[in-house]
């Protein structure tokens, strides 16, 4: 995607409305683009002010909320300043009543602090849980695509070698799920591209994919219309092509495999 296309999404990104590949593409571009960074920063300032457009409501007890926040702050990150020196009781005076009173106050204070701390920790834990659930929902979606009733699979390997990639074709959802492992990284400006091969006909592009930092890939790719319309496919091939993909393969396939039905 070009800078001109991406910068049009700067407002959508600052509003937090980009998801999935759109967000990943924008965030991959952002660190290297001063103009997009400036746009996002300005739009984020706008989003900060938009909160003033909400209806004027107040906490039932703003003072109590303030006190809770300050108590939590003391608990979350204790101050580094040295503790004040303890006041020593006068010689000969009985300290027992004071100790008892102090113990009662300490118990009450600790109970209150514990409650506040737990509420703050609960809010943070709920945040983390929601993020985890969103991640799981994405994985569930991928798993569901693997397990559909009409799924074909092809294992791609070098001649007589072990498989280095598998492609699942979920006909119900009309998507390819590409899983790659043990593949070498491609040079800069290149990409992996998959091909659907029908005997006696030119290969059809199934799409391109990239490896992550650990050399693996899991991608869900919509099935191109010309493949859906073309009927039965015999084989699948993998080549390395210029970034963006080629109309036809420009090299001999590195990996090949035959489609079969998933039991």
């Amino acid at each position: 995607m070009t800078h001109e296309q991406l910068i049009e999404s700067a407002a959508a990104y600052a509003l937090g409305t980009l998801d999935g590949d759109d967000r990943a593409a924008f965030e991959a571009h952002l660190p290297d683009c001063e103009e997009c960074q400036t746009e996002v920063e300005a739009f984020r300032e706008v989003t900060g002010l938009l909160a003033h457009g909400t209806p004027a409501v107040r906490p039932a007890n703003s003072g109590a909320l303030r006190d809770r926040i300050l108590r939590d702050a003391r608990d979350v990150r204790p101050l580094s300043s040295a503790p004040s020196k303890a006041v020593r009781p006068a010689k000969g005076a009985s300290i027992m009543p004071w100790l008892a009173a102090a113990a009662c106050l300490t118990i009450a204070a600790v109970s209150g602090l514990s409650y506040s701390r737990e509420r703050a920790q609960l809010a943070l834990a709920e945040h983390d849980l929601a993020a985890t659930r969103a991640d799981l929902a994405g994985r569930d979606s991928t798993i569901a695509a693997f397990l559909g009733p009409e799924v074909h699979v092809v294992s791609l390997s070098e001649p007589k070698g072990k498989p280095s990639a598998r492609v699942f074709w979920n006909h119900t959802r009309n998507v390819f799920i590409v899983t790659a492992f043990n593949l070498p990284p491609v040079p800069a400006g290149k990409t992996y591209q998959l091909w659907a091969i029908r005997n006696g006909k030119p290969p059809l592009s199934m799409g391109t994919f990239a490896l992550n930092a650990s050399g693996r890939a899991t991608a869900i790719v919509p099935v191109p219309q010309n493949i859906t319309d073309g009927g039965f496919i015999d084989d699948c091939a993998l080549t390395v092509e210029p970034a963006g993909g080629s109309a036809q393969p420009t090299e001999t396939p590195r990996l090949m495999g035959a489609w079969r039905h998933v039991d």
Binding site: E8, S9, A10, A11, A12, A14, L15, G16, T17, L18, D19, D22, Q37, E41, A42, F43, R44, E45, V46, T47, G48, L49, L50, A51, H52, G53, T54, P55, A56, V57, R58, P59, A60, S62, L65, R66, R68, I69, L70, D72, A73, R74, V76, R77, L79, S80, S81, R119, A120, L122, A123, L124, E126, H127, L129, A130, A131, R133, A134, A137
Partner: protein, 221 residues
Amino acid sequence: MLRRHALPAATVGDGPHPDCSRGRLPSDTALVARMARGDEAALGVLYDRHGGVAYRLAFALTHTSEGAEDVVSAVFAQLWRESRELRTARQSVLAWMMARVRRIALARRGVADGSPRGGVRIAQDRAARSRQAAGMKSRQVTGGTKPIEPLVRKALAELPEAQRVAVERAYFGGLTRRELAIEQEEPVTQVTEHLGSAMHYLRRALLPRAGTFEEPVTRRG
């Protein structure tokens, strides 16, 4: 015992709040620097300044007072804990806080609804929006609105309907661009255009952030 700081209301003017410019009031950035040194009073001042608007946004997103209070509490806890890092952030303290309010509130709502993002949640959002509007009528604070609020409301009201709806549903509804496209029955490209046009207009109308407690935006970090 921490002393409460009585602060003047935010006003509309040219640039930062006049009392910040004259050195009578510390800027948000100066307060965050004090917090990074463990100054609790600075956290109290920031709460007095922005706790109200943080609560309002949290309430608009969570629809409950308890949920809003928990969100605000969590955001200020993060602000306190991350104050060292925030000193070098390339955004204002207010923008940072409101982004956290949205993130935590939307995450909480996802947990409470137990629903995935998508069509189901959009329907639930519509119902929640009605509940929210009904609930807020009885909670409206009468009088005392700060000058910066009508400025924001006016700017939003001046947007073409499609742009205003797109921004409000994205910002207050937490919808993604694709969900907006489904809800508004428009192509994603059209939604992107609405959001872009709206935010450019709001940027011209609202920035520089007149009357806020922020120093002029400079490239930090």
